[in-house]
Symmetry: C2
Subunit: 233 residues, 2 copies
């Protein structure tokens, strides 16, 4: 058969989704209770549950105890970003990977970073600037701050061998990650590093990761001109 079993949870999900697509249920409408859908489509209630959770995860319906299930009135496009570490992304594209350490030092946190980390300015941080190269050309410029209160052993990492990016991701799992994406006109210094004209439009990803309530690192990753972040769902 072309689709899945009508009584698998994917089958149930598809039938409900179909009714939303063909306007049997319209935005704002209340759907029957799980129990009744289960009876009608001849499956267990937990199977309806599974299907409904999937639809809720996709932002298609909204569920509330006692309130029931409604079709979301203000649909939201939901896309999942996968951000791999630079080396993996470059190697996946079939390019040779290398990284250059541009600068590295340790000191007290400047105000902007202290604020981002929620720490006092006396806190010690490491600052690392590195360039990730794909096939000999600049791919990502990484400007990173690491909280040495949270990651004291970072002081003794040899960044010639492993990038800070990779060392952290392998040794310091995080529990939370904030991501911001924006476009910026590159300044003269960074332009020279990236090999583009000053003022060129660059895609920038800024990430801050945390373990519990403690900040691990903040990184500003400036991507090569023309880079596209892609997602699908």
């Amino acid at each position: 058969m072309s689709d899945l079993d009508r009584t698998s949870w994917q089958g149930i999900r598809d039938q409900i989704r179909e009714r939303i697509l063909d306007s049997t249920y319209r935005p704002g409408d209340k759907l029957p209770r799980d129990h009744d859908i289960a009876a009608e489509l001849e499956c267990a209630r937990s199977t309806v549950q599974r299907a409904m959770r999937s639809l809720a995860d996709d932002g298609i319906v909204e569920r509330k105890r006692k309130g029931g299930t409604i079709v979301k009135p203000d649909p939201v496009t939901r896309a999942v970003l996968n951000i791999p570490i630079a080396r993996i992304e470059i190697e996946n594209r079939g390019f040779d990977y290398r990284h250059h350490l541009i600068s590295q030092d340790i000191g007290a946190a400047p105000p902007a970073i202290a604020a981002q980390f929620g720490l006092s300015q006396a806190s010690p941080v490491a600052h690392v600037v590195a360039l990730h190269m794909a096939a000999g050309r600049p791919f990502v410029l990484e400007d990173r701050w690491i909280s040495l209160d949270t990651v004291p052993e970072f002081r003794s990492v040899d960044l010639a061998e492993t990038s800070a990016n990779e060392w952290l991701v392998r040794h310091r799992p995080y529990s939370r990650c904030d991501v911001q994406i924006h476009a910026t006109a590159i300044d003269a210094d960074d332009a020279q590093l990236m090999g583009v004209a000053p003022g060129a439009a660059m895609l920038v990803l800024e990430r801050t990761t945390w373990i519990g309530e403690k900040p691990i690192t903040h990184v500003k990753a400036t991507h090569a001109e023309g880079y596209r972040l892609m997602t699908s769902s």
Copy 2:
């Protein structure tokens, strides 16, 4: 108690995650089978299943039948983007919303759009350019193509009342959505519309939505200078 029940699926998830964070299980390691974890933590196997699926969704572990569960060796940052309708986003920020229709016409698909849609160039498409304003200032410039084969009734929509964005999202649910994000230097015409200097760095989101295998719409949304897409997980 401060955390959830140790035997709830969230509790199980947290205990497993904890063991990954404290390196009891390291990247690439194989975890015990669900059955054994269930026995050790004294819960049903399906509860372990639920916890494991959550960890797999977060990109922390990888599961294969017969292969077992391993800690993902190449951790990937996974962030979920929520892209609301322009009007909702602007109103949520407490600004007055308005939209201006810049241009609107119907014709055969130009090559780039035909290719994007996987259609022949003879296919009829609508082309709409509109500006979404927040508090009287340009917020998003929307350049949209709609496949009239898929959405014939779009011909008779009055775009003075509802934006194409909003009409589509309310009347044409989609089953798939591709998103691309990039930075671009704005051209002179668009710069005038957005009220910025030509060449300014702008964040652009391009989305194509599909219903089954049929294309609905492709939209290029150029955001105001300095706009930041934010996510958290």
